[in-house]
Symmetry: C2
DNA sequence: GAGGTTCGGTTAACACCGTTCACTCGCTCG
DNA sequence: CGAGCGAGTGAACGGTGTTAACCGAACCTC
């Protein structure tokens, strides 16, 4: 019985080793280098043994994506605790800057998770727990929930969003409420209007665009130092969304 | 002599065939399927023969990127001629919608050109002609030049952009002027201020972010119809930049 | 304790990949 | 005509994902 637990623990340990090695190969040599044989070689076993843990290379990559998301969420979480609980604007800025810093420090992982056409993020529902990037989305939305909960100075009239978006944005709002409730923060439903959901969407679009452009080097001109560019964008964004 | 021309023409023809087949494999089965052996197989030759045309697979992919950019530029160009010459706002909207339409219709190519960490877009100077994505950037900036040239209603005070950005933005402005001049449009240098360059940058960030998020399915909630989402973003963008 | 089962691991093999090398063979040119 | 050139070939090397058969030790049951 306890021997069974020991072997089970062993299995989980080698599983962790597999993913750790895969991760190391990803960060050092890019996604193309994360190969089953290389992982096995580094672990002192043979490639087919990995099929006892993952049904295919793509399956392993999928789990790797989830690991990457979890790490990003953890890093953002540590960034967050260093900010004063009441400083909502500071929390938002910490998340945005942390996201950029992480993306620049881990461009391969960023490309894998946030710029992969094969990602299933669009199709499967958020919040059910089986979404690879859910752990990231949760912390992102949780912070938003905290900011929203404490009577923030964000005032967005709901009637400025077009009618065609209300159904989707309402669903988004509902998911937000669930996520925020799960994170422990209490938030009255009427404090999170459709307009705020719309603003959060715009926030994500501009943050993602700026970070992805910087990571992929797709700015339309050579940038000597991208950090001021990001900071001014962030300042504009915070102002435009009404967090000034 | 004329026989030499004939063989030269032959070589160019098979070169086109190679890239056409590579392109076909890319659009149907993704970037991983564009393999030298598959291309050769489809062309009825053997893989090593391709080395008479490209020094490596990566070299071929690079040229493929350029082809994709040229195609995108051509498609945007045809979109553009259908818009009234004097309708500057309509031209801008046509480019943005055309970019989105192309990205959604060619997600693999989009990922290859605009979301590849190995892209050299950041390091090599724009406008020298050897940049793979220059053909796209040129048409994008040319349209901007046309809009700017005809005394557009865009009014952005230059003193709103932070000091840390002026050197980079000035270089961007100068490149813009060169590109616009090359495209035939005449534009007084003082009509293109730093503030407008900054606005164009923000334009690109938000357009790219929206399109990339849609292509990669990375919106934070399931979207039933992304087109209204894009259109409202575009409307906001045009308004924020002062083109309303 | 003996026997069957489970399961992590191995070896061998298949099909495919990029790439190199030596080699044809037809065309061009002097 | 002969030399040269250059596109294309075939074989080969090392690498890949994946499958199949097998092995051996740990486990459960009797």
């Amino acid at each position: 019985m306890h021997m069974t637990q020991a072997t089970r623990r062993d299995r989980a340990a080698t599983d962790r080793d597999i993913r750790r090695q895969a991760r190391a190969l990803l960060v050092t040599d890019g996604p193309a280098a994360v190969t089953l044989r290389a992982i096995a070689r580094e672990l002192g076993i043979t490639a087919p043994a990995l099929y006892r843990y993952y049904s295919s290379r793509e399956d392993l990559i999928e789990h790797l994506r989830a690991d990457v998301c979890a790490d990003l969420a953890a890093e953002l979480g540590t960034d967050l605790v260093e900010v004063d609980e009441a400083d909502h604007l500071g929390q938002v800025l910490a998340i945005c800057r942390g996201f950029r810093r992480w993306a620049l420090a881990h461009p391969q992982e960023f490309g894998l998770v946030f710029a992969s056409p094969s990602s299933t993020g669009a199709h499967c529902p958020v919040g059910t727990g089986d979404n690879p990037q859910d752990s990231f989305g949760r912390i992102f939305l949780t912070v938003a929930g905290r900011v929203l909960a404490n009577g923030l100075p964000v005032t967005v009239p709901d009637d400025t969003v077009p009618d065609v978006l209300v159904t989707d944005l309402t669903r988004f709002r509902d998911e937000l409420l669930v996520t925020i409730a799960e994170s422990g923060t209490d938030l009255a439903a009427d404090q999170l209007g459709i307009g705020i959901a719309h603003a959060m969407l715009q926030f994500w679009v501009r943050l993602y665009g700026q970070v992805a452009l910087e990571v992929f080097g797709q700015f339309p001109f050579p940038v000597s130092d991208a950090e001021p560019l990001f900071e001014t964008m962030l300042a504009d964004l915070v102002r435009d969304v009404g967090l000034g």
